[in-house]
Protein backbone atom coordinates (compact mmCIF):
# COMPACT_ATOMS: atom_id res chain seq x y z
CA UNK A 1 0.00 0.00 0.00
CA UNK A 2 2.20 2.77 -1.25
CA UNK A 3 -0.40 4.73 -3.18
CA UNK A 4 0.17 8.37 -2.37
CA UNK A 5 -3.26 9.74 -3.27
CA UNK A 6 -5.71 7.71 -1.28
CA UNK A 7 -9.34 8.80 -1.44
CA UNK A 8 -10.28 7.09 1.84
CA UNK A 9 -11.22 9.48 4.68
CA UNK A 10 -8.80 10.25 7.52
CA UNK A 11 -9.28 9.37 11.16
CA UNK A 12 -11.35 12.30 12.51
CA UNK A 13 -10.25 14.27 15.59
CA UNK A 14 -12.80 17.08 15.70
CA UNK A 15 -15.68 16.62 18.08
CA UNK A 16 -17.94 19.56 17.32
CA UNK A 17 -20.42 20.29 20.09
CA UNK A 18 -19.94 16.95 21.89
CA UNK A 19 -16.49 17.44 23.45
CA UNK A 20 -16.71 14.35 25.70
CA UNK A 21 -17.66 11.93 22.91
CA UNK A 22 -15.45 10.46 20.18
CA UNK A 23 -16.02 12.01 16.73
CA UNK A 24 -19.39 10.81 15.39
CA UNK A 25 -17.95 9.14 12.27
CA UNK A 26 -16.34 6.45 14.43
CA UNK A 27 -19.72 5.12 15.59
CA UNK A 28 -21.02 5.12 12.00
CA UNK A 29 -17.99 3.25 10.73
CA UNK A 30 -18.22 0.75 13.58
CA UNK A 31 -21.81 -0.01 12.62
CA UNK A 32 -20.80 -0.52 8.97
CA UNK A 33 -18.04 -3.08 9.56
CA UNK A 34 -15.14 -4.15 11.79
CA UNK A 35 -12.33 -2.78 9.61
CA UNK A 36 -12.00 -0.20 6.83
CA UNK A 37 -9.41 1.79 4.95
CA UNK A 38 -8.40 5.28 6.03
CA UNK A 39 -5.84 7.79 4.84
CA UNK A 40 -2.93 8.50 7.16
CA UNK A 41 -0.88 11.67 7.61
CA UNK A 42 1.66 10.92 4.86
CA UNK A 43 -1.10 10.31 2.30
CA UNK A 44 -0.85 6.51 2.31
CA UNK A 45 -3.67 4.24 3.39
CA UNK A 46 -3.91 2.08 6.49
CA UNK A 47 -6.58 -0.11 8.08
CA UNK A 48 -8.78 1.36 10.76
CA UNK A 49 -10.10 -1.30 13.14
CA UNK A 50 -13.51 -0.13 14.38
CA UNK A 51 -14.73 -2.64 16.99
CA UNK A 52 -13.70 -3.71 20.49
CA UNK A 53 -13.23 -7.44 19.75
CA UNK A 54 -11.10 -6.92 16.65
CA UNK A 55 -9.03 -4.23 18.40
CA UNK A 56 -8.26 -6.65 21.23
CA UNK A 57 -7.33 -9.26 18.64
CA UNK A 58 -4.91 -6.92 16.85
CA UNK A 59 -3.27 -5.61 20.04
CA UNK A 60 -2.82 -9.17 21.35
CA UNK A 61 -1.33 -10.50 18.11
CA UNK A 62 2.46 -11.04 18.12
CA UNK A 63 2.52 -10.51 14.35
CA UNK A 64 1.68 -6.84 14.87
CA UNK A 65 4.74 -4.62 15.22
CA UNK A 66 5.16 -1.32 17.09
CA UNK A 67 8.38 -0.50 15.25
CA UNK A 68 7.79 2.91 13.66
CA UNK A 69 10.75 2.46 11.28
CA UNK A 70 9.16 -0.51 9.51
CA UNK A 71 7.84 0.39 6.04
CA UNK A 72 4.06 0.87 6.15
CA UNK A 73 3.92 1.96 9.78
CA UNK A 74 1.01 4.49 9.96
CA UNK A 75 2.57 7.42 11.84
CA UNK A 76 0.34 10.22 13.13
CA UNK A 77 2.67 12.75 11.49
CA UNK A 78 3.47 13.09 7.80
CA UNK A 79 7.26 13.03 8.15
CA UNK A 80 9.46 9.97 8.55
CA UNK A 81 9.42 9.05 12.27
CA UNK A 82 12.60 9.52 14.28
CA UNK A 83 13.39 6.97 16.95
CA UNK A 84 14.63 8.19 20.29
CA UNK A 85 16.79 5.95 22.45
CA UNK A 86 14.96 4.12 25.21
CA UNK A 87 11.46 4.70 23.79
CA UNK A 88 10.15 1.25 24.57
CA UNK A 89 6.65 1.98 23.22
CA UNK A 90 8.22 1.63 19.77
CA UNK A 91 10.06 -1.63 20.44
CA UNK A 92 9.16 -5.21 19.58
CA UNK A 93 10.17 -8.39 21.42
CA UNK A 94 12.63 -9.63 22.39
CA UNK A 95 14.25 -6.24 23.22
CA UNK A 96 10.91 -4.81 24.29
CA UNK A 97 10.44 -7.46 26.97
CA UNK A 98 13.94 -6.96 28.31
CA UNK A 99 13.49 -3.20 28.66
CA UNK A 100 9.95 -3.34 30.04
CA UNK A 101 10.96 -5.83 32.72
CA UNK A 102 13.50 -3.37 34.07
CA UNK A 103 10.53 -1.15 35.03
CA UNK A 104 7.81 -3.56 36.14
CA UNK A 105 9.08 -3.64 39.72
CA UNK A 106 8.81 0.13 40.10
CA UNK A 107 5.20 0.25 38.91
CA UNK A 108 3.90 -2.95 40.48
CA UNK A 109 0.75 -2.65 42.56
CA UNK A 110 2.35 -2.96 45.99
CA UNK A 111 5.08 -0.42 45.25
CA UNK A 112 2.50 2.12 44.11
CA UNK A 113 0.48 1.36 47.26
CA UNK A 114 3.59 2.20 49.29
CA UNK A 115 3.57 5.59 47.60
CA UNK A 116 -0.09 6.31 48.34
CA UNK A 117 0.50 8.38 51.51
CA UNK A 118 2.95 10.64 49.64
CA UNK A 119 0.46 11.02 46.82
CA UNK A 120 -2.15 12.17 49.34
CA UNK A 121 0.32 14.72 50.76
CA UNK A 122 1.22 16.09 47.34
CA UNK A 123 -2.49 16.37 46.50
CA UNK A 124 -3.23 18.25 49.71
CA UNK A 125 -0.30 20.62 49.20
CA UNK A 126 -1.65 21.63 45.80
CA UNK A 127 -5.17 22.03 47.17
CA UNK A 128 -3.83 24.20 50.02
CA UNK A 129 -2.17 26.45 47.45
CA UNK A 130 -5.28 26.57 45.28
CA UNK A 131 -7.44 27.55 48.23
CA UNK A 132 -5.43 30.73 48.69
CA UNK A 133 -5.66 31.82 45.05
CA UNK A 134 -8.05 34.47 43.77
CA UNK A 135 -10.98 32.89 41.97
CA UNK A 136 -11.55 31.77 39.28
CA UNK A 137 -8.59 29.38 39.33
CA UNK A 138 -7.29 27.47 36.31
CA UNK A 139 -7.65 23.93 37.62
CA UNK A 140 -5.65 22.54 34.71
CA UNK A 141 -2.62 24.75 35.43
CA UNK A 142 -2.73 24.58 39.23
CA UNK A 143 -3.89 21.04 39.99
CA UNK A 144 -4.41 18.69 37.04
CA UNK A 145 -0.98 19.32 35.49
CA UNK A 146 1.30 19.70 38.52
CA UNK A 147 0.01 16.71 40.51
CA UNK A 148 0.95 13.93 38.06
CA UNK A 149 4.16 15.83 37.39
CA UNK A 150 5.13 15.87 41.09
CA UNK A 151 4.25 12.19 41.43
CA UNK A 152 6.24 10.90 38.45
CA UNK A 153 9.24 13.06 39.43
CA UNK A 154 9.13 11.54 42.90
CA UNK A 155 8.92 7.98 41.53
CA UNK A 156 11.90 8.60 39.25
CA UNK A 157 13.84 10.46 41.93
CA UNK A 158 14.29 13.79 40.11
CA UNK A 159 13.54 17.30 41.40
CA UNK A 160 10.25 19.06 40.62
CA UNK A 161 12.16 22.25 40.01
CA UNK A 162 12.25 21.90 36.24
CA UNK A 163 8.71 20.86 35.67
CA UNK A 164 8.07 23.86 33.41
CA UNK A 165 10.53 22.34 30.95
CA UNK A 166 8.79 18.97 31.21
CA UNK A 167 5.32 20.43 30.78
CA UNK A 168 6.17 22.52 27.74
CA UNK A 169 8.09 19.71 26.05
CA UNK A 170 5.48 17.06 26.90
CA UNK A 171 2.73 19.14 25.26
CA UNK A 172 4.91 19.74 22.18
CA UNK A 173 5.70 16.05 21.73
CA UNK A 174 2.03 15.16 21.39
CA UNK A 175 1.09 18.18 19.28
CA UNK A 176 0.22 16.85 15.82
CA UNK A 177 0.45 20.31 14.26
CA UNK A 178 4.19 20.26 15.05
CA UNK A 179 6.62 18.46 12.75
CA UNK A 180 8.36 15.24 13.67
CA UNK A 181 11.62 17.17 13.98
CA UNK A 182 10.20 19.57 16.55
CA UNK A 183 8.62 16.73 18.55
CA UNK A 184 11.87 14.76 18.40
CA UNK A 185 13.88 17.72 19.72
CA UNK A 186 11.43 18.15 22.59
CA UNK A 187 11.76 14.47 23.49
CA UNK A 188 15.53 14.35 23.28
CA UNK A 189 15.66 17.67 25.16
CA UNK A 190 14.10 15.99 28.19
CA UNK A 191 16.34 12.93 27.83
CA UNK A 192 19.50 15.07 27.61
CA UNK A 193 18.41 17.02 30.66
CA UNK A 194 17.84 13.78 32.59
CA UNK A 195 21.30 12.34 31.87
CA UNK A 196 22.76 14.45 34.70
CA UNK A 197 20.43 12.75 37.19
CA UNK A 198 21.42 9.30 35.95
CA UNK A 199 25.05 10.30 36.61
CA UNK A 200 24.12 11.71 40.01
CA UNK A 201 22.40 8.41 40.99
CA UNK A 202 25.53 6.55 39.98
CA UNK A 203 27.45 8.63 42.53
CA UNK A 204 24.73 8.60 45.22
CA UNK A 205 22.08 5.93 44.69
CA UNK A 206 18.82 6.47 46.58
CA UNK A 207 15.52 4.64 46.90
CA UNK A 208 13.95 5.56 43.55
CA UNK A 209 13.51 4.27 40.00
CA UNK A 210 16.58 5.89 38.44
CA UNK A 211 18.80 4.54 41.22
CA UNK A 212 17.33 1.08 40.73
CA UNK A 213 18.08 1.22 37.00
CA UNK A 214 21.58 2.58 37.55
CA UNK A 215 22.55 0.03 40.19
CA UNK A 216 20.87 -3.05 38.73
CA UNK A 217 20.95 -2.39 34.99
CA UNK A 218 23.55 0.20 34.06
CA UNK A 219 26.38 -1.15 36.19
CA UNK A 220 25.67 -4.63 34.82
CA UNK A 221 25.86 -3.36 31.24
CA UNK A 222 22.21 -4.20 30.41
CA UNK A 223 21.22 -0.57 29.77
CA UNK A 224 23.29 2.45 28.81
CA UNK A 225 23.15 5.81 30.55
CA UNK A 226 21.45 7.33 27.49
CA UNK A 227 18.90 4.54 27.27
CA UNK A 228 17.94 5.02 30.91
CA UNK A 229 17.58 8.76 30.34
CA UNK A 230 15.39 8.04 27.29
CA UNK A 231 13.19 5.63 29.24
CA UNK A 232 12.87 8.15 32.04
CA UNK A 233 11.97 10.85 29.52
CA UNK A 234 9.19 8.70 28.14
CA UNK A 235 7.79 8.12 31.63
CA UNK A 236 8.01 11.83 32.48
CA UNK A 237 6.21 12.79 29.26
CA UNK A 238 3.46 10.19 29.52
CA UNK A 239 3.19 10.68 33.27
CA UNK A 240 2.53 14.37 32.70
CA UNK A 241 0.10 14.35 29.86
CA UNK A 242 -2.33 11.54 30.38
CA UNK A 243 -3.18 11.93 34.06
CA UNK A 244 -3.38 15.72 33.71
CA UNK A 245 -5.91 15.29 30.94
CA UNK A 246 -7.90 12.70 32.88
CA UNK A 247 -8.19 14.93 35.95
CA UNK A 248 -9.54 17.92 34.00
CA UNK A 249 -11.93 15.96 31.80
CA UNK A 250 -13.14 13.91 34.79
CA UNK A 251 -14.02 17.08 36.67
CA UNK A 252 -16.08 18.30 33.72
CA UNK A 253 -17.78 14.91 33.38
CA UNK A 254 -18.65 14.59 37.07
CA UNK A 255 -19.97 18.16 37.21
CA UNK A 256 -22.29 17.34 34.33
CA UNK A 257 -23.72 14.40 36.30
CA UNK A 258 -24.53 15.92 39.72
CA UNK A 259 -26.34 12.87 41.12
CA UNK A 260 -23.44 10.60 40.29
CA UNK A 261 -21.03 13.21 41.63
CA UNK A 262 -22.95 13.19 44.92
CA UNK A 263 -22.49 9.41 45.21
CA UNK A 264 -18.83 9.75 44.19
CA UNK A 265 -18.22 12.21 47.03
CA UNK A 266 -20.32 10.56 49.74
CA UNK A 267 -19.75 6.85 49.05
CA UNK A 268 -16.01 6.08 48.98
CA UNK A 269 -16.68 2.49 47.94
CA UNK A 270 -17.94 3.63 44.51
CA UNK A 271 -14.74 5.55 43.73
CA UNK A 272 -12.60 2.78 42.15
CA UNK A 273 -15.45 1.70 39.85
CA UNK A 274 -16.19 5.34 38.99
CA UNK A 275 -12.55 5.87 37.99
CA UNK A 276 -12.78 2.86 35.66
CA UNK A 277 -15.91 4.36 34.12
CA UNK A 278 -14.18 7.73 33.67
CA UNK A 279 -11.25 5.96 31.99
CA UNK A 280 -13.67 4.15 29.67
CA UNK A 281 -15.89 7.11 28.93
CA UNK A 282 -13.11 9.65 28.32
CA UNK A 283 -10.42 7.41 26.75
CA UNK A 284 -8.06 10.31 26.16
CA UNK A 285 -5.61 8.71 23.70
CA UNK A 286 -7.66 9.67 20.66
CA UNK A 287 -5.34 9.25 17.67
CA UNK A 288 -5.48 5.48 17.90
CA UNK A 289 -2.71 3.04 18.75
CA UNK A 290 -0.61 2.22 15.70
CA UNK A 291 0.78 -1.08 14.40
CA UNK A 292 2.18 -2.57 11.19
CA UNK A 293 1.56 -6.21 10.20
CA UNK A 294 4.67 -8.40 9.88
CA UNK A 295 2.72 -11.19 8.15
CA UNK A 296 -0.60 -11.60 6.35
CA UNK A 297 -3.27 -11.61 9.07
CA UNK A 298 -7.07 -12.10 8.88
CA UNK A 299 -8.87 -9.34 10.78
CA UNK A 300 -12.64 -8.89 10.72
CA UNK A 301 -12.98 -10.86 7.48
CA UNK A 302 -10.27 -9.08 5.48
CA UNK A 303 -6.66 -10.06 4.91
CA UNK A 304 -4.30 -7.43 6.23
CA UNK A 305 -1.12 -7.89 4.20
CA UNK A 306 2.39 -7.92 5.56
CA UNK A 307 3.65 -4.33 5.60
CA UNK A 308 0.19 -2.74 5.92
CA UNK A 309 -0.51 -0.36 8.78
CA UNK A 310 -3.32 -0.53 11.33
CA UNK A 311 -4.90 2.13 13.52
CA UNK A 312 -6.63 1.00 16.69
CA UNK A 313 -8.83 3.80 18.09
CA UNK A 314 -9.30 2.64 21.68
CA UNK A 315 -11.66 5.54 22.44
CA UNK A 316 -14.03 4.00 19.92
CA UNK A 317 -13.58 0.48 21.36
CA UNK A 318 -14.72 1.86 24.68
CA UNK A 319 -17.98 3.06 23.11
CA UNK A 320 -18.72 -0.21 21.30
CA UNK A 321 -22.28 -1.34 22.19
CA UNK A 322 -21.19 -4.98 21.84
CA UNK A 323 -18.74 -4.47 24.70
CA UNK A 324 -20.68 -1.97 26.89
CA UNK A 325 -24.46 -1.51 27.23
CA UNK A 326 -25.63 1.98 26.29
CA UNK A 327 -21.96 2.96 25.83
CA UNK A 328 -22.55 6.68 25.41
CA UNK A 329 -24.11 6.95 28.85
CA UNK A 330 -21.81 7.80 31.72
CA UNK A 331 -22.64 5.44 34.58
CA UNK A 332 -20.30 5.03 37.53
CA UNK A 333 -22.10 1.87 38.66
CA UNK A 334 -21.57 -0.08 35.47
CA UNK A 335 -18.95 -2.83 35.04
CA UNK A 336 -16.28 -1.09 32.96
CA UNK A 337 -13.09 -2.84 34.05
CA UNK A 338 -12.59 -4.43 30.62
CA UNK A 339 -12.16 -1.02 28.93
CA UNK A 340 -9.13 -0.49 26.73
CA UNK A 341 -8.13 2.98 27.95
CA UNK A 342 -4.66 1.59 28.83
CA UNK A 343 -4.42 -0.42 25.62
CA UNK A 344 -4.17 -4.20 25.42
CA UNK A 345 -1.44 -6.71 24.69
CA UNK A 346 2.20 -6.56 25.73
CA UNK A 347 2.36 -2.76 25.42
CA UNK A 348 -0.52 -2.15 27.84
CA UNK A 349 0.36 0.86 30.01
CA UNK A 350 3.06 -0.02 32.51
CA UNK A 351 2.03 2.81 34.88
CA UNK A 352 -1.70 2.06 34.83
CA UNK A 353 -1.99 1.32 38.54
CA UNK A 354 -0.21 4.57 39.38
CA UNK A 355 -2.62 6.44 37.13
CA UNK A 356 -5.60 4.79 38.80
CA UNK A 357 -4.40 5.64 42.29
CA UNK A 358 -3.66 9.24 41.27
CA UNK A 359 -7.24 9.62 40.09
CA UNK A 360 -8.67 7.76 43.10
CA UNK A 361 -6.91 10.26 45.36
CA UNK A 362 -7.06 13.49 43.37
CA UNK A 363 -10.72 13.62 42.36
CA UNK A 364 -12.40 12.88 45.72
CA UNK A 365 -9.89 15.16 47.51
CA UNK A 366 -10.69 18.02 45.15
CA UNK A 367 -14.46 17.72 45.62
CA UNK A 368 -14.10 17.31 49.39
CA UNK A 369 -11.98 20.44 49.62
CA UNK A 370 -14.33 22.48 47.43
CA UNK A 371 -17.85 21.04 47.81
CA UNK A 372 -19.27 23.86 45.68
CA UNK A 373 -16.72 23.44 42.90
CA UNK A 374 -18.10 24.50 39.52
CA UNK A 375 -16.90 25.65 36.13
CA UNK A 376 -16.35 29.40 35.97
CA UNK A 377 -17.27 29.48 32.27
CA UNK A 378 -19.95 27.77 30.19
CA UNK A 379 -18.81 24.48 28.66
CA UNK A 380 -18.93 26.03 25.15
CA UNK A 381 -16.19 28.43 26.19
CA UNK A 382 -13.81 25.73 27.43
CA UNK A 383 -11.03 25.19 24.89
CA UNK A 384 -10.46 21.51 24.14
CA UNK A 385 -7.14 20.27 22.78
CA UNK A 386 -8.07 18.23 19.70
CA UNK A 387 -4.78 18.33 17.81
CA UNK A 388 -2.74 16.39 20.35
CA UNK A 389 -2.14 12.65 20.74
CA UNK A 390 -3.70 13.06 24.19
CA UNK A 391 -7.09 14.79 24.16
CA UNK A 392 -7.37 17.37 26.93
CA UNK A 393 -8.39 20.91 27.88
CA UNK A 394 -6.13 23.91 27.34
CA UNK A 395 -7.36 25.40 30.58
CA UNK A 396 -10.18 24.83 33.05
CA UNK A 397 -11.45 27.88 34.96
CA UNK A 398 -13.23 26.85 38.16
CA UNK A 399 -14.64 28.60 41.17
CA UNK A 400 -16.30 27.59 44.48
Amino acid sequence: MTDTHSTAPSLPFHRGDAPLDPPAALAEWRAEGPIRRVTVANGNTAWLVTRYDEMREVLGDPRMSSDVTKPGFPSPRAEEPKVSLGNFTQMDPPRYGVVRRTLTRTFMVKNIERLRPRMVEMTNDLLDAMEKMPRPVDLHAHFARPLPSHIICEVLGIPHADRALFQANAATIGDMSKTEGVAFSARTGIAEYLVQFVEEKDRNPGDDMLSDLVVNRMRTGELSKEEIAGMAALLVINGHESSASMIGLSVITLLRHPEQLHRFVTEPEVVPGAIEELLRYLSIVHVGLRRVATADVEIGGVTVRKGEGLIIPIHSANRDPDAFDAPDQFDITRESRHHMAFGHGLHQCIAQYMARVELQIALPALFHRFPDLRLAAPLEEISFREDNVVYSVHGLPVTW
Binding site: L59, G60, G97, R100, R101, T104, R105, T106, F107, M108, V109, K110, N111, R337, H338, F342, G343, H344, G345, L346, H347, Q348, C349, I350, Q352, Y353, R356
Partner: protein, 66 residues
Amino acid sequence: MKIEIDEEKCCGAGQCVMAAPEVFDQREEDGLVLVLDAAPPQSQYEAVRQAAKLCPTAVIRVAEDD
Protein backbone atom coordinates in the same frame (compact mmCIF):
# COMPACT_ATOMS: atom_id res chain seq x y z
CA MET B 1 -10.42 -24.79 39.50
CA LYS B 2 -6.71 -24.94 38.64
CA ILE B 3 -4.60 -21.98 37.54
CA GLU B 4 -1.67 -22.29 35.17
CA ILE B 5 0.69 -19.48 34.27
CA ASP B 6 2.79 -18.82 31.21
CA GLU B 7 5.28 -16.62 33.01
CA GLU B 8 7.40 -15.96 29.91
CA LYS B 9 4.61 -13.80 28.48
CA CYS B 10 3.96 -11.75 31.64
CA CYS B 11 4.36 -7.99 31.10
CA GLY B 12 3.76 -7.03 34.75
CA ALA B 13 0.71 -4.85 34.08
CA GLY B 14 -0.76 -5.92 37.43
CA GLN B 15 -4.28 -6.59 36.12
CA CYS B 16 -4.45 -9.95 37.91
CA VAL B 17 -3.49 -8.42 41.26
CA MET B 18 -6.16 -5.75 40.85
CA ALA B 19 -8.82 -8.31 39.89
CA ALA B 20 -7.98 -11.11 42.36
CA PRO B 21 -5.56 -9.89 45.05
CA GLU B 22 -6.07 -13.00 47.18
CA VAL B 23 -4.94 -15.27 44.36
CA PHE B 24 -2.29 -13.23 42.52
CA ASP B 25 0.60 -11.04 43.58
CA GLN B 26 3.73 -9.63 41.93
CA ARG B 27 7.23 -10.80 42.77
CA GLU B 28 9.19 -8.34 44.86
CA GLU B 29 12.27 -8.65 42.65
CA ASP B 30 10.76 -8.01 39.20
CA GLY B 31 7.02 -7.31 39.47
CA LEU B 32 6.04 -10.37 37.44
CA VAL B 33 3.10 -12.61 38.29
CA LEU B 34 3.15 -14.71 41.45
CA VAL B 35 0.34 -17.20 42.05
CA LEU B 36 -0.55 -17.31 45.72
CA ASP B 37 -3.14 -20.06 45.37
CA ALA B 38 -3.15 -22.23 42.25
CA ALA B 39 -6.29 -24.06 43.41
CA PRO B 40 -8.39 -21.22 44.82
CA PRO B 41 -11.62 -21.66 46.77
CA GLN B 42 -14.94 -21.22 44.98
CA SER B 43 -15.40 -17.75 46.44
CA GLN B 44 -12.49 -16.62 44.22
CA TYR B 45 -13.67 -18.17 40.95
CA GLU B 46 -15.30 -15.05 39.55
CA ALA B 47 -12.32 -12.85 40.40
CA VAL B 48 -9.92 -15.35 38.82
CA ARG B 49 -11.98 -15.51 35.62
CA GLN B 50 -11.93 -11.72 35.53
CA ALA B 51 -8.14 -11.72 36.01
CA ALA B 52 -7.71 -14.17 33.13
CA LYS B 53 -9.93 -12.06 30.90
CA LEU B 54 -8.16 -8.80 31.75
CA CYS B 55 -4.59 -10.09 31.47
CA PRO B 56 -3.21 -8.19 28.47
CA THR B 57 -0.91 -10.99 27.37
CA ALA B 58 -3.13 -14.01 28.12
CA VAL B 59 -0.75 -15.41 30.72
CA ILE B 60 -3.40 -17.01 32.93
CA ARG B 61 -5.00 -20.32 31.98
CA VAL B 62 -7.93 -21.42 34.09
CA ALA B 63 -8.98 -25.07 34.13
CA GLU B 64 -12.55 -25.14 35.46
CA ASP B 65 -13.89 -27.98 37.62
CA ASP B 66 -15.73 -30.73 35.73
